[in-house]
C-alpha cells in the first residue's frame, strides 16, 4: 500500500519544484546587487557622460493609473476620424501595458515598434526619412525631415532645468551640470540614491526623486541607471496611497551592440495607404508637460499657479477640441463633479469645467477645484 502512495510522490513534488523554481527566478531578479557607492550627483553626471549611440532592446511598460478600462484596448486605427483620436490614443498608450522594441544606431537611425496583440505600430527613422506604420489598418505615413538635426536626436534624458541658460551646457562638465541640476531641484525635490538593482540583466544604480511637498499625488520617481554605461534603463512613478507603481517603463532586455542596418531600411508594403507629410520646421517635441510659451496662441496660453510638484496648469476656454466631450470614451473616463467633469488618475487629475476651462496637475481634485474657484 505504501508503495502505491509513493507513486503519487512525483505528482506532489513536480508542481512544488516548478513553483519553487519560478519563485526563485523572480527572487533572483530582485536580489540585492552590490555596486561601489555613488552620490546622486555622480549618478546624474554619469547619465550626462553616457555616450550610448547604438542599442537594441525590449521595453516593457505597465501602469496602474486607476483609470477605468476602455473597451477597445487594442490599437486604434489611425485613420479613424474624430478629434478625440489623439487623446484616446495617448490614454491607450499610457494606461494599458505594452511591450515595445527599440533599435538605435547613431543619431539618425532609429526604429521603435509597439508590439500589440496581432498588430504592431512602427516608427522608423533612417536619415531624413521618417516612416510611421500601423499594421492594424495597413496605413503608413512618410515624413521627410529637414536637414537640421531634429530635437529628438539630442539625448532626451538630459533634462535641463528651466532657469539654465541653454547656451552654456557645452562649456560645463557633466559633474558641474549635475550639481546645478541638484541645486535647482533641491527646494522642491529630495534626490537620494536607492539600493542598486538589476534591470534587463545589467546592474543599475537607482536615483530616487521624492517631492518635498505633501500636496501632490506623486510619491516618488525612481530612475534606474546602468552602472556601466550611464544609460537610464528604467523609470518608475509611484503614487501616494498605492502599493503598485502607477507607471513603470523599463528595458526587459538590452544589447548595446549596433543593430543590423536592415532593421532601419523601411519600404512601405504594397497595398498600404500612404500619407505623405513634409515638415519644414523641426519636429515639435510631443507631449510636453509644460508647453513652451509661444507654441499656443495668446488666447489659449495656459496660466500656471503653485510651484514645484503642486503646480496647477489652467487652460482658458477653447483648448479642448470640439469632439472630445461628445466621445463615448470621455464619459467613461471621467466622472461628473460640480460644474464639469473630472478625470482622476493616481498621478494626474484633469478638471474640465462646463465653461470650457481646463485645469490639470499632479494634485488631488480638491486643489484643482480650489484653483478653479473665482478668487
Amino acid at each position: 500500500m505504501t508503495r502505491r502512495w509513493l507513486r503519487w510522490l512525483p505528482a506532489a513534488m513536480v508542481p512544488a519544484a516548478l513553483t519553487a523554481a519560478a519563485l526563485a527566478g523572480s527572487y533572483q531578479a530582485g536580489a540585492a546587487v552590490s555596486l561601489p557607492g555613488k552620490s546622486a550627483a555622480e549618478i546624474i553626471a554619469m547619465i550626462g557622460r553616457s555616450d550610448v549611440r547604438a542599442l537594441s532592446g525590449t521595453l516593457r511598460q505597465s501602469s496602474e493609473l486607476g483609470l477605468p478600462q476602455l473597451p477597445s484596448a487594442g490599437p486604434l486605427p489611425s485613420a479613424r476620424p474624430g478629434a478625440n483620436q489623439g487623446l484616446a490614443a495617448v490614454i491607450e498608450l499610457l494606461g494599458t501595458p505594452h511591450t515595445a522594441r527599440i533599435y538605435l544606431d547613431g543619431p539618425s537611425k532609429a526604429r521603435f515598434q509597439i508590439m500589440d496583440t496581432l498588430a504592431e505600430r512602427d516608427v522608423v527613422r533612417n536619415g531624413k526619412d521618417l516612416w510611421l506604420y500601423n499594421s492594424a489598418d495597413n496605413s503608413a505615413a512618410h515624413i521627410t525631415l529637414p536637414d537640421a538635426p531634429a530635437p529628438g536626436t539630442r539625448t532626451p534624458h538630459a533634462h535641463v532645468p528651466a532657469d539654465q541658460d541653454p547656451k552654456t551646457p557645452e562649456m560645463t562638465t557633466p559633474e558641474a551640470l549635475a550639481q546645478r541640476f541638484l541645486a535647482a531641484v533641491d527646494p522642491s525635490t529630495e534626490v537620494t540614491v536607492g539600493d542598486p538593482t538589476t534591470v534587463a540583466g545589467r546592474t543599475a544604480y537607482q536615483l530616487v526623486l521624492k517631492p518635498r511637498s505633501t500636496g501632490t499625488l506623486l510619491d516618488s520617481v525612481t530612475l534606474a541607471v546602468d552602472s556601466a554605461s550611464g544609460l537610464p534603463l528604467g523609470i518608475q512613478l509611484r503614487a501616494r496611497e498605492q502599493a503598485a507603481p502607477a507607471f513603470s517603463l523599463a528595458f526587459s532586455d538590452i544589447s548595446l551592440a549596433a543593430p543590423e542596418s536592415s532593421v532601419f531600411a523601411f519600404t512601405p508594403p504594397r497595398g498600404a495607404s500612404i500619407e505623405e507629410k513634409t515638415v519644414t520646421s523641426p519636429v515639435p517635441v510631443p507631449e510636453s508637460k509644460h508647453p513652451a510659451p509661444g507654441t499656443h496662441p495668446a488666447a489659449t496660453r495656459p496660466t500656471v499657479t503653485g510651484k514645484g510638484w503642486d503646480t496647477v496648469v489652467a487652460f482658458p476656454a477653447g483648448v479642448l477640441p470640439a469632439g472630445v466631450r461628445s466621445a463615448p470614451a470621455f464619459a467613461q473616463l471621467t466622472q461628473a463633479v460640480p460644474g464639469g467633469r473630472a478625470l482622476s488618475s493616481s498621478l494626474v487629475t484633469v478638471l474640465m469645467l462646463d465653461d470650457g476651462r481646463v485645469f490639470a496637475g499632479m494634485v488631488p481634485l480638491e486643489r484643482l477645484q480650489a484653483a478653479a474657484a473665482p478668487q
Binding site: P10, V14, T58, M115, L118, E120, D137, S139, T267, R270
Partner: protein
C-alpha cells in the same frame, strides 16, 4: 473502434508477438499507425482543413473587399495575397478547433483503451506502464503538429489556388519573399503545436482517471475554454502568465521583423512546466491504479 482489433496491428499485438521488451520505436510506430488509421482522426483533420478552405472561398466569393481592421486579423490581406489564408485560418482555429481536436485525441489515450478493454492486453506485454504513457503522449504530440501543419498547408494551397501570391507584408511593415513566408507559416504551425503540448499532457492525465473517453475529452476541452476565459478577465491578471493558453495568440511575434523569440521561449517553458506537472499526475494515477478492463 474497429481499427484496434481489425487490420491494424495494435501495440498489444505487436508487443505480444515480439519476444522480450519490444522496441520503443516499434511501439511508437504501431501507436501512430493506429491513430492515423482511425476514421475519427481523419475526420478531425478534414474539419481542420475545411477552415482555411471556408475562409478562402468566402473571401473569394464576396464582391466587395474586406475593409481593414474588421474581422479577424489578416482577413483584409487575403484578397491581395493568398499566403495570408493559412495565417488567418490558424488564428481562427486557435481558440476552439485546435484544442477541440487535441482534447479528443489526448482524452482518448488511456481512457479509450480502458473503454475498449484493450488496456490490460497492452499491459500484459512487458511494455511497462511508464513506457505506454510516454508513447501515448508522444502520439498525441505528433497529432498536435499534424493538426497545425494541416491548417497551415491547406491554407497555403487554397491561397495559391484562389488568390494572387506575392511577397508578404509582416506586422512590422517589412516585406519578405514567398519562400521566407512559407518558412514563417511553418514556424507558426510549430509554435501552435508547442502551445498545444501542455493541453495534450493535461488530457493524458485526465484520461488516466476514467474509463469513459468522452468524459476525458470533454473535461480537456472545457479546461482549455476555461483557461482562455480566465485569460480574458482583468481581475485574474496575476494568474495570466501561468495559464497554458496565455501565449496561444502570441504567435504574431513570429510575424515581426526581426522575429521576437521571447514569447516562443516563454511559451515553450510554460508548456514544459505543464507537461512535467500533468505527466507526474498521470504517472501517479496510472502506475498506482488497478487495471480492471
Amino acid at each position: 473502434m474497429a481499427a484496434r482489433g481489425g487490420a491494424a496491428p495494435g501495440p498489444a499485438a505487436r508487443a505480444a508477438s515480439a519476444s522480450g521488451r519490444p522496441g520503443a520505436w516499434a511501439l511508437m510506430g504501431s501507436e501512430l499507425s493506429v491513430l492515423f488509421r482511425r476514421l475519427r482522426t481523419w475526420a478531425m483533420l478534414l474539419a481542420l482543413a475545411a477552415i482555411p478552405l471556408l475562409i478562402a472561398t468566402a473571401v473569394r466569393l464576396t464582391s466587395h473587399p474586406v475593409p481593414p481592421a474588421r474581422g479577424p486579423a489578416f482577413l483584409d490581406r487575403i484578397s491581395q495575397n493568398g499566403l495570408f489564408v493559412g495565417m488567418t485560418a490558424m488564428l481562427v482555429s486557435v481558440p476552439l478547433f485546435l484544442p477541440l481536436t487535441v482534447g479528443v485525441v489526448a482524452g482518448d489515450t488511456i481512457a479509450g483503451e480502458a473503454n475498449l478493454g484493450t488496456l490490460r492486453y497492452l499491459l500484459v506485454a512487458p511494455a511497462g506502464r511508464v513506457r505506454l504513457l510516454l508513447i501515448k503522449y508522444a502520439a498525441a504530440a505528433v497529432f498536435c503538429l499534424t493538426a497545425t501543419v494541416t491548417v497551415a498547408a491547406v491554407g497555403v494551397l487554397a491561397g495559391v489556388a484562389l488568390f494572387p501570391v506575392g511577397p508578404v507584408t509582416l506586422l512590422s511593415g517589412d516585406t519578405i519573399d514567398v519562400g521566407e513566408s512559407l518558412l514563417r507559416s511553418l514556424l507558426i504551425a510549430a509554435y501552435l503545436a508547442v502551445s498545444l503540448l501542455g493541453l495534450a499532457a493535461i488530457g493524458l492525465a485526465i484520461s488516466t482517471f476514467t474509463d469513459i473517453p468522452v468524459g476525458a475529452m470533454a473535461a480537456t476541452v472545457v479546461l482549455s475554454v476555461m483557461s482562455q476565459v480566465a485569460d480574458n478577465l482583468p481581475q485574474l491578471e496575476w494568474l495570466h502568465p501561468w495559464l497554458f493558453s496565455h501565449y496561444w495568440l502570441d504567435f504574431a511575434d513570429l510575424l515581426r521583423q526581426p522575429i521576437s523569440w521571447t514569447t516562443f521561449g516563454g511559451n515553450a517553458l510554460l508548456q514544459g512546466g505543464y507537461i512535467l506537472a500533468a505527466g507526474a499526475i498521470a504517472y501517479g494515477r496510472f502506475t498506482s491504479k488497478d487495471i480492471l478492463s
